[in-house]
Every structure is written in C-alpha cells, then in structure tokens.
C-alpha cells in the first residue's frame, strides 16, 4: 500500500482505477481518460493533487533565502498572493525540482513541489535554509489540494462553494491567489485552461470534492492530467527535466531570471556559461506525421545533427494525433522533419513550437 490522500476512499467509491504514482495510490481514471480530458477542455474537471508537497516557509528574511534557492526571481512577487513558477537547481545547474512559490506575506511564503521528489526536496530546503537564520520549514501534510480546471471551472466552483469565493477570487488574474478563511484559492493549473487550484484542510477535502461533483465538475485522473499538460506545453519533472538537465536544455529558459547579474542563485554559474556558449540540446515539440504513437524514450533521428530522445510522448485527444516533447540537438529547427524510431520503424514527425493547445484551441497548423 502506498501513501493515500484524504480523497482516496472517495476515488475508490467513484470507481477509479488506482495506480502507484511516486509512492502514492492515485486515480489514473474513473472510466475513460479521454472523456475526462475532453471534459476539462470543454467544461470543467477536477483533480486530486493532494499528493503534491505543500511547504510553508516562515521567517524574517525569506526573500533573501528564495533569491538563492530558485532560478526565477522572487522580486516579481510584488503583491500578496502572487505566484511564481520556478526551478530549484543544484550546483551543476541541474533541476532538483520545479515548483510554485506563493507570496503570502513578507514572513510567509508557500512552496508547492512535486510528490515523487518530496524527500530530496525537503533535505535540500532544510539544509540550505540553515544558512539564513530563523527560517521555519513546515511541511503541510494537514492540507489537501484540488485542481478545478476548464472553461466552466470557475463558475462551477462558485456554484459549489458559495458566493464569498466568487467575491474574493473573481478578479484574480492568472498566477495569483487569495486566502479565503482556510482555503487558499489560486489561479494556477497544469492543463492550459482557466480554473483554480484550491489548497484546503485535509478534513474539508471530501465534502468540498462532493460539492464540486454535485455542481457538475467531472472527476479526472492523472491520465488526463498528463495529456492535458502535454498539450498545454508544460513540463513534467522526471520526464522532461531532472538533475542531469538544466532549465535551458528543458525549454524553461523563460523561468530563469538572469537579471540582476549580481543575484547568485544556486546553479547560476553553469547557466551563465551555457547562455554564453550556447546549449547543445534543446526541448522541442513533435507532431507525428507517420503511424503509431510517440512514447517516452523513443529515439529521434535528426539527420547529420545527430540523435535525440522523446521525453514525453502520448496521444493528444484534442488534436486527435500523437504529440511529444523531445530533447534534440540544438541545431534542429522548428518546421524540420525528423524520424522517430517507433517499435523498430522510422516514422516522420514535424518539429513544432509548443504549446500544442491553449484554452481548448489548437496552436498547431
């Protein structure tokens, strides 16, 4: 038996197929992963993401610590509730994890990190925080998290959870959040659709889930979550980047704040060098033109430039064709055709700029 979220029994009652995900017993789907995917693109779906690691940092000099800890700049967090996506790097510039930092007040920042990397993340955060005086690192295992996503997600959330949520959250721009009593409601997500991620007390999770269900929000499993995030062009830690790859090699240059040059975040030296000398590999999007389905670890032949590898490959329910991220030699340009080794046969695929889908619409010509 793996770790279980406060919603485990709820998933079982709903008929979920449960699978192991990074040591957690999580719902893969509740019947059809593709139906769930379409629900999120066209209406509203919800995901139990309580396995994610919520960590509160409290102390007097949190900005000083976070300036060093993450590659993006917490100086962008000017208003309370603002969220920032960033990588946390090791000294070689490799990605220990990707995370969201929420600025709640000067003495309270919240990190939301991946589930499967929990132990190493906590070891790193605790070890590095020591040098910054009185920082209290608090793992919030008493909290749960539900992501409600889709074009109708917000309206259905208001219908389910009441008018005070609408009042407090309606005017939030993307990547902001607000505390409403014990609920931390954020306009973040992992699907490329509108919606909320709601962090709430674990004990409140089952009835909150039920109210969302009653309001017509479809329960969705990790299967749909993966195809949605791939279409939306969002990286998955452990597949698209890890400790052996830098953000620049993983399509995440936009999350690295090089200015000001004086900010010495962990991993900076390696990234500065890569930026100056150019990267050898880069992450691209692929659309399969040949037969089959693109899968993780398939080899990508890029002619004279060399070979690459698919890091996340699947079937796109929205585009009704197979898509992927691949790490390829940096010289491979968008628009080029590469050959993917699918079960021993070379199949053509087109290199494209991702995202593949945003707000229900194809971004691919």
């Amino acid at each position: 038996m793996g770790n279980r979220t406060p919603l485990y029994d709820t998933h079982v009652k709903l008929g979920a197929k449960i699978v192991d995900f990074g040591g957690w017993d999580m719902p893969l789907h509740y019947g059809s992963q593709i139906d769930e995917h379409h629900k999120v693109r066209t209406d509203a779906g919800m995901f139990d993401v309580s396995h994610m690691n919520v960590v509160d940092l409290k102390g007097p000099d949190l900005r000083g610590y976070l300036r060093m800890l993450v590659a993006n700049s917490v100086e962008k967090l000017k208003t309370k509730g603002r969220a920032l996506y960033s990588c946390m790097l090791n000294h070689k510039g490799g990605v220990i994890d990707d995370l969201i930092v929420y600025y709640l007040d000067e003495a309270w920042f919240r990190l939301v990190m991946n589930a499967a990397t929990r132990d190493k993340d906590m070891a790193w955060v605790r070890a590095t925080a020591k040098d910054y005086g009185n920082i209290v690192v608090e793992q919030r295992d008493d909290l749960a998290m539900i992501a409600v996503q889709g074009p109708n997600a917000k309206d259905k959330t208001y219908a389910a959870l009441g008018g005070n949520i609408r009042e407090a959250a309606e005017s939030l721009k993307p990547f902001h959040s607000v505390m409403i009593g014990e609920l931390h409601v954020a306009t973040t997500g992992y699907t490329g659709e509108d919606g909320f991620e709601i962090i709430l007390p674990a004990k409140a999770a089952p009835f909150t889930w039920q109210m969302l269900l009653d309001a017509g929000v479809a329960p969705c499993g990790l299967g749909a979550r993966d195809t949605l995030r791939l279409e939306a062009g969002m990286n998955l830690y452990g597949s698209d980047m890890d400790e052996t790859t830098t953000p620049l090699e993983s399509g995440l240059a936009w999350t690295v704040a090089f200015e000001p040059a004086s900010r010495g975040f962990v991993g900076r030296e390696v990234l500065d060098k890569q930026k100056a000398n150019g990267i050898k590999r880069r992450l691209v999007g692929l659309v399969l033109e040949g037969k089959g389905v693109l899968r993780n670890h398939q080899k990508v032949h890029c002619g004279a430039l060399g070979d690459g590898e698919i890091t996340s490959g699947s079937f796109s329910p929205t585009l009704n064709r197979s898509i992927a991220f691949a790490r390829v030699p940096a010289g491979v340009e968008n628009g080029a055709t590469v050959q993917v080794d699918i079960r021993g046969q070379l199949q053509p695929a087109r290199v494209v700029q991702y995202p593949f889908v945003r707000q229900g619409k194809s971004c691919i010509s």
């Binding site: 197929k17 893969l28 789907h29 059809s32 992963q33 593709i34 299967g223 195809t227 037969k291 089959g292 389905v293 899968r295 699947s314 079937f315 329910p317 197979s322 079960r343």
Partner: protein
C-alpha cells in the same frame, strides 16, 4: 469481464470466432481492452499476409501503452477491419463485435479446436491477476 462462451481464446488475450466459411475472426478480449484503457491507434495486417501462431501480426496502442496482437493460429489473413483506423475506440466499446480486428483462413482446423474455451480463459485471467 465478459467472456462469451461461443468463442475460443488465446493465452495472449485474443478471442477467436469460427465463421461458417471456415475462416476465423480475431479480436482482443474484454479483459485486454480494459487493462489497456482508451485505444488511440490500431495497426492491422494486410490481406494475404501469411501469419504464424504466437507471432505478432497487429498492434494496438492505448493512451497508456502499445501492445502486440498475436496470430492465434497459422494461416493467411483474408480481411482486416479498416473501420478501426478511424475509430480505434470501437475496440473499447464493442470488443467482441464491431471491434473485431482481422480474419484468418487457418492452415489447420485442429489448431483452432486446440485453443482455450471460455472457462479455461477465465481461469487464466483469474490466475494472472493474483
């Protein structure tokens, strides 16, 4: 799990139906489609291809993974269900009916008789899930 008693089965989760003209129709079982999840791609053998029992002759891919489909008996492919290329989800919805995959003219009728019956196949699935 549905296991129609009039069909024959293989250890690799194909079902086989003997037609009046002596050919056999082949598909994957309810158990197999349920394990794989939503189908998104089917690659079928060409008509006229000689197939060998236990060797792969088709591929089904779900959102989750790819899986080979094996020829249940030696023979020659006489038809393939072209409808599936445009609607692979038919394999999930109606695996024993519209979700059939291909037809074979068996080299030897006795090979068909030797396949598992429904009871033996159910026992195999039960044993595999323990």
């Amino acid at each position: 799990m549905k296991t129609p008693t009039e069909l024959k089965y293989t250890k690799s989760h194909e079902w086989v139906r003997v037609e009046t003209d002596g050919t056999v129709t082949v598909g994957i079982t309810d158990h197999a489609q349920e394990l794989m999840g939503d189908m998104v791609y089917v690659d079928l053998p060409e008509t006229g291809r000689k197939v060998e029992a236990g060797k792969e002759c088709a591929v089904v891919e779900s959102v989750k993974a790819a899986s080979d489909v094996y020829a249940p008996v030696n023979g020659e492919v006489t038809a393939a269900n072209g409808e599936l290329s445009g609607s692979p989800e038919t394999v999930n919805k109606d695996c024993y009916g519209a979700g059939w995959m291909f037809r074979i003219k068996p080299a030897n009728k006795a090979d068909v008789d030797a396949l598992l019956d429904a009871k033996a196949y159910e026992a195999l699935v039960a044993a595999e899930s323990h």
